[in-house]
């Protein structure tokens, strides 16, 4: 198998951090906040590495778009088993449409046979980049994947849908977006973290790609959601049922 798998990864506020909205309402505080690879992207890296280990793919290439600091998620991807990495350098924040334009350029340059990525990033929660990218490339898509099998030039994808699972068979090349149950990502071992430092990491200036990265959305404001008030503790199930009947009038 000669297939090259491209794995786009995103550097986001770590999922354990409780984010705070910036006082000026322009966004959320990211200064001094722990950043990590988007958890869904870790699953995508793991799946790509497994495909290579099974012999279904030849090479796994991780790519991210961001400032110099975004290199750390590429090193993590390589410590997990990606062979090399590409940083598309920019200081701007890109929307999914713009990200898809950049990834399309990289996928074409790399002649990728499969793009395996997280279904959504836990910062903007858009759940859109994979689908937009597939459309722009004219490739089929297997979104919200919980199982993936490559055979005979096709990829079979079990997809999480409302109420169950659906299986689709796609021609390659294709775009897959990873859902939670696809796999359990491995921890990068210390020797592999050391090895990853020596793997190739290429930096490309975003302007050199010549793609449209303009934003179509203007952020008018970012606000805290209204807080719920903490309620009362009750002492027994009987008291709870009584309150639900007479006070909350919900049963």
């Amino acid at each position: 198998m000669t297939m090259k798998v491209l794995v786009p990864v995103k550097r986001v506020v770590d999922y354990n951090v409780k984010v705070r909205v910036a006082a000026d309402g322009s966004g959320v505080e990211t200064q001094g906040v722990k950043m990590s690879m988007n958890p869904f992207d870790e699953i995508a890296v793991e799946e790509a590495v497994r495909l290579r280990e099974k012999g279904a793919a030849k090479e796994v290439v991780a790519v991210t778009i961001g400032a110099q600091a975004a290199q750390d998620v590429l090193r993590t991807a390589m410590a997990m088993g990606a062979d090399r990495a590409i940083l598309v350098r920019t200081d701007d924040t890109l929307e999914p449409r713009a990200v898809a334009n950049v990834l399309k350029a990289i996928a074409t340059r790399e002649d990728a046979g499969l793009i395996c990525m997280g279904k959504q990033a836990i910062d903007d929660d858009m759940n859109a980049t994979g689908q937009i990218l597939a459309a722009k490339l004219g490739w089929p898509q297997g979104t919200f994947a919980s199982a993936v099998t490559v055979a005979d030039g096709r990829i079979e994808v079990a997809r999480e849908i409302d109420g169950g699972t659906e299986v689709v068979s796609l021609t390659l090349p294709a775009v897959i977006t990873a859902d939670l149950r696809l796999n359990e990502p491995r921890y990068a071992s210390l020797p592999n973290i050391m090895k990853a430092r020596k793997k190739p990491l290429e930096t490309i200036e975003i302007d050199s790609l010549g793609v449209d990265t303009a934003s179509r959305l203007t952020v008018v404001s970012v606000a805290e959601p209204s807080e719920r008030k903490e309620g009362v503790k009750v002492n027994s199930a009987a008291e709870l049922v009584e309150k639900l009947k007479t006070e909350a009038k919900v049963i």
Binding site: V13, Y15, V19, V21, V28, P96, R97, Q120, I122, D123, D125, M126, N127, A128, G130, Q131, I132, L133, A134, A135, K136, W139, P140, Q141, T143, F144, E156, E160, I161, D162, G163, G164, T165, V168, S169, T171, A174, D179, R216, L217, T218, V219, V220, E224, P225, R228, E230, G231, V232, K233, V234, S236, A237, A238, L240, V241, L244, A248, V250, I251
Partner: protein, 301 residues
């Protein structure tokens, strides 16, 4: 301005989330509906829908032909709208890619025809965004818009052909058999967390769910531990629910879970740990062992 709404029909009835999407879309002006597979009649009965585009041949909601078809019709519309369901989230961003517009997912509030509010960071912040695209592609979070009625309308129906799909082929679907209401439309939801300890204990939720006609949900931790299937997951990465009553059993209330249920009208938490974050959002809390509280609750109902 006219909006086109992707309407999902299941067992002859329009899904509640799609009725919410029609309600949201009617803010923009006239509403047309598009239905893949059978179900044009149910969509034509929705109040406020002028015209139904029926694509009976497209039975499996495959994103590739569906997005192609929507793209071919898009120029007639100012807004293309769907519920933020698995189907909506699969098809609409692909459509946006074909149209080269930036989709706006999970809309919880419409400010005007160009300006929308959507949650980011698992609902820990609400972003108000204004779109400069000529066609807006939106998914609507059903729990934030009251659904329109299922009957009362009489739209015209136009049947259209489905484009071929060679790159993507439907193989099979496995739906979990359940007589319970859908998570997203149930009046009452009872969810179990890691405190349930194993899959067999999830059965303890059933008699209570039976008495309250409730849907059963699970936290991501419970799903990850194999206690419950993923389609039961409530949270940022699962289903977003806002029932009249939400009962959280043996779940701590991780940020990502709260994102999926904190808009419920009344929240009840049952947990042994009085410091569990779930109590911060609960209207009524019971500090205790769920294995003792659940049978008592069943008896008291």
């Amino acid at each position: 301005m006219t909006a086109l709404v992707l309407v999902e029909v299941e067992n002859g009835a329009v899904r509640q989330a799609s009725r919410s999407a029609v309600a949201a879309a009617s803010r923009f002006g006239a509403v047309d509906a598009i239905v893949f597979g059978d179900g044009a009649e149910a969509a034509a009965a929705l109040p406020g829908v002028t015209r139904v585009l029926s694509v009976p041949a497209l039975v499996n909601d495959l994103a590739e032909p569906a997005a192609d078809l929507l793209a071919a019709r898009a120029k007639d519309y100012s807004h293309i709208v769907a519920a933020a369901s698995a189907t909506g989230k699969n098809i609409l961003p692909r459509l946006a890619g074909l149209l080269d517009v930036q989709p706006i997912p999970d809309v919880v509030e419409i400010k005007d025809a160009d300006t929308f509010v959507r949650p980011i960071y698992a609902g820990n912040a609400l972003a108000t965004v204004r779109s400069s695209d000529s066609i807006k592609v939106l998914t609507i979070r059903g729990s934030n818009f009251d659904p329109i009625a299922a009957e009362g309308g009489s739209a015209t129906v136009e049947t259209i052909e489905a484009p071929a799909s060679e790159k993507s082929v439907f193989v099979k679907v496995e739906l979990s058999a359940s007589d319970r209401p859908e998570l997203e439309s149930a009046r009452v939801v009872i969810s179990g967390g890691k405190g349930m300890k194993d899959a067999a204990n999830f059965k303890l939720l059933e008699p209570i769910a039976d008495k309250l006609n409730a849907a059963i949900g699970a936290s991501r931790a419970a799903v990850d531990s194999g206690f419950a299937p993923n389609e039961m997951q409530v949270g940022q990465t699962g289903k977003i629910v806002a029932p009249e009553l939400y009962i959280a059993v043996g779940l701590s209330g991780a940020i990502q879970h709260l994102a999926g249920m904190k808009d419920s009208r009344v929240i009840v938490a049952i947990n042994t740990d009085p410091e569990a974050p779930i109590f911060k959002v609960a209207d009524y809390g019971v500090v205790g062992d769920l294995f003792e509280v659940l049978p008592e609750l069943e008896k008291a109902l």
